[in-house]
Amino acid sequence: MNTFHVELSPSIWLDLSLLTMLVLVAIAMLRSRHLFAVVMLSGIYSLLSAAFFVSLDAVDVAFTEAAVGAGVSTVLMLGGMLLTARREKPKGAGRAPVALAVVFAAGAALVYATIDMPAFGDPNAPANSHVGQAYVEQTPNDIAVPNIVTAVLASYRGFDTLGEVMVIFTAGVAVMLLLGAGSVRGGREVSDVEKDESGAA
Amino acid sequence: MIDLYIIKDIVSWALMVAGGIAVVAGAIGLVRFPDFFSRIHAAGVTDTGGAELIIIGMLLQAPDWIVAAKLIFIGVFLFLTSPVATHAVAHAAWMTGFKPMQGPDLRYDGDGK
């Protein structure tokens, strides 16, 4: 195994700045108590992480993150928020020294574990040398579709994708059951807002 | 023929630098300006001047017509939607009772109606 070194190329600086912004947004989300602001910041978070995926050349993941993370989940979270309160219940900033210690210990362990990880983009890393390489080598012979991700998603791992579609379908059915399309009301408009106006606003 | 490429590169450079300046200036204005309604204008600089200049700069570097077509779509799309989004923000703020500062001494007094 020959060694592989990462140089501080401009793209690394780009990645670093994107990751820094991601951390900043995440902290801001944690600290905000205004739920609309949190949803908006999570939209920004999705946009940023998708930009990061683009810089890692994971085009399909970035596409999904942009469409689902920034688009649909923002809209659905806002829609869901209409059904509940707009502000998180203010909690006193508690001090939990034990929890803090546990978090720091776990974080330190994780950081320690990264020292053994293969370098970013190392061709000898296990992820790049076994399954991934096999897909890249065999897709032109087996499937002949230019986009390898699609080949993996729909053909090599067709069963997985069927399961994923099933999960989405189940989510839809669950929402329908919980919120009333299949209820005795027969999916008619539900207007229980006036009653709990004070509680919701 | 080579001259044409050099000219294209120079124009691209100029557009990118101008666009970059506009984007950064808009962002600085977004942070510096005193009230919500004046920040809208700073955001507008980024959305129009900055974005379109950079997109035109990229357009000149497009390797083939399909990339050029997509860049034009992005440009037109931003051109159509960014004023709508800006107007929607301003309108929503206005409807919920935000009053802008007015006059050179920046006071909240006039109702503007």
Binding site: V59, D60, A62, F63, T64, A67, V68, G71, V72, V75, L76, G79, G80, L82, L83, D142, I143, A144, V145, P146, N147, V149, T150, A151, L153, A154, S155, G158, F159, T161, L162, V165, M166, I168, F169, A171, G172, V173, V175, M176, L179, G180, A181, G187, E189, V190, S191, D192, V193 | L80, T81, V84, H87, A88, H91, A92, M95
Partner: protein, 146 residues
């Protein structure tokens, strides 16, 4: 003058967004994208419609009943492709059976297209269903209020 600008823009963009969704759907083999993303973009076109014209109007264009059918149909389309390959003599979801004589794996290509279509239909209808149910519980927001 209830949001004239938004209405005009949405009318202008509605059909192109749907076309973009279908473009993403059918070009999944050549570039980024596929059924999941296409379904979501398709749903976004209707979200925009609902924001500008109200949910009641959107429900007239794409009623919940049709969405419920589409949800099931999409999933069945995916699974049905697998069953079809079984009936043709192969394993479940072994697309090569669709066109076994082809020298350039046309069967795999068709299979992927069929399966992606099922994914797209399911995702689009499920997203819209969830959206309808989340926002449909509130009385519609007055156009003058935002």
């Amino acid at each position: 003058m209830d949001h004239l600008i938004l209405k005009v823009t949405t009318k202008l963009l509605f059909a192109p967004i749907i076309l973009f969704a279908l473009y993403v759907q059918f070009h999944g083999d050549y570039g980024p994208g596929g059924g999941f993303q296409a379904g979501v973009i398709f749903a976004v076109a209707f979200f925009l419609h609902a924001f500008c014209f109200g949910l009641a109007e959107t429900k007239k264009v794409l009623p919940q009943k049709a969405l419920t059918i589409a949800m099931v149909a999409g999933l069945m389309f995916y699974a049905g492709t697998g069953v079809a390959t079984q009936l043709l003599g192969g394993n479940f979801l072994a697309y090569t059976e669709i066109d076994p004589e082809s020298t350039h794996h046309a069967g795999q290509h068709y299979g992927i297209l069929l399966v992606e279509w099922g994914v797209g239909v399911t995702v689009a209808s499920t997203m819209l269903t969830i959206f309808y149910h989340f926002t449909g519980r509130e009385p519609d927001i007055d156009q003058e209020d935002w």
